[in-house]
């Protein structure tokens, strides 16, 4: 039973998120360097992470996760939904981590949290992603002669 639940969970995780392998960066990394250290907890680390939203013309949501893992440590990438439920988790040890994550069910997307945890020095970097829809009405009034 426990294993069945675990399997269902695993399937749910992979159906919610599709990991796309990072090719050459679609979005070049900005703000690399010092800014990445803001918000880290644990011991001071030069390892810096960044999460960027990439606009998808097909109405989807693509996120570029970059982790400058200079110490070549093992780290985890965790993605949580608005309720704190885990959508994705995986471990890596890439020195220059650069992957894109595509949200498979964009219609349910309100808030996401990306957590990058360095397992060697236990530093945690959290990124919160919020999506807001706005209805814009263009009203045109013209006089008819």
């Amino acid at each position: 039973m426990k294993s069945a639940i675990a399997n269902i969970r695993k399937v749910a995780v992979f159906s919610l998120f599709t990991l796309t392998l990072a090719g050459t960066g679609l979005v070049s990394r900005a703000n690399n360097g010092n800014e990445g250290n803001k918000g880290t907890t644990g011991t001071a680390s030069a390892n810096t992470a960044d999460v960027k939203y990439i606009a998808d013309n097909n109405g989807g949501y693509l996120f570029n996760v970059i982790y400058n893992n200079i110490s070549n440590s093992r780290f985890s990438v965790i993605i949580l939904d608005a309720n704190g439920d885990q959508l994705f988790q995986s471990h890596y040890s890439d020195k220059q981590f650069n992957r894109k994550f595509k949200l498979a069910q964009p219609e349910e997307f309100g808030r996401l949290t990306f957590i990058i945890r360095n397992l060697a020095d236990n530093t945690v970097q959290r990124f919160e992603v919020d999506a807001n829809s706005r209805l814009i009405e263009d009203v045109e009034v013209k006089e008819v002669k």
Binding site: G39, D130, A131, R134, I136, E137, V139, E140
Partner: protein, 85 residues
Amino acid sequence: MIVFNVSYANPDGNKFQVIVKDQDGTQLYQNLFSDKAFYKQFRLPRADKDRLVFIIRNGRDADVVKTFEVNVSSRVTQEVSVRKF
């Protein structure tokens, strides 16, 4: 709501009517005034496509008729923000 500012110069202070009709000719508003410098704001509910007619009638001169077409187009935009904390 769509706001229309209606002004009418009536230096003699004669009585006049202000009438507002929709595209079907249904009367939305009618009232009698005698202001010398008439100014009134009309707040009207908007539909996706509408036509509004404002008529000022003083009983002596030809009616002043102003017709307006209202077109509303809607679109949804998504804003995504990423915040590090």
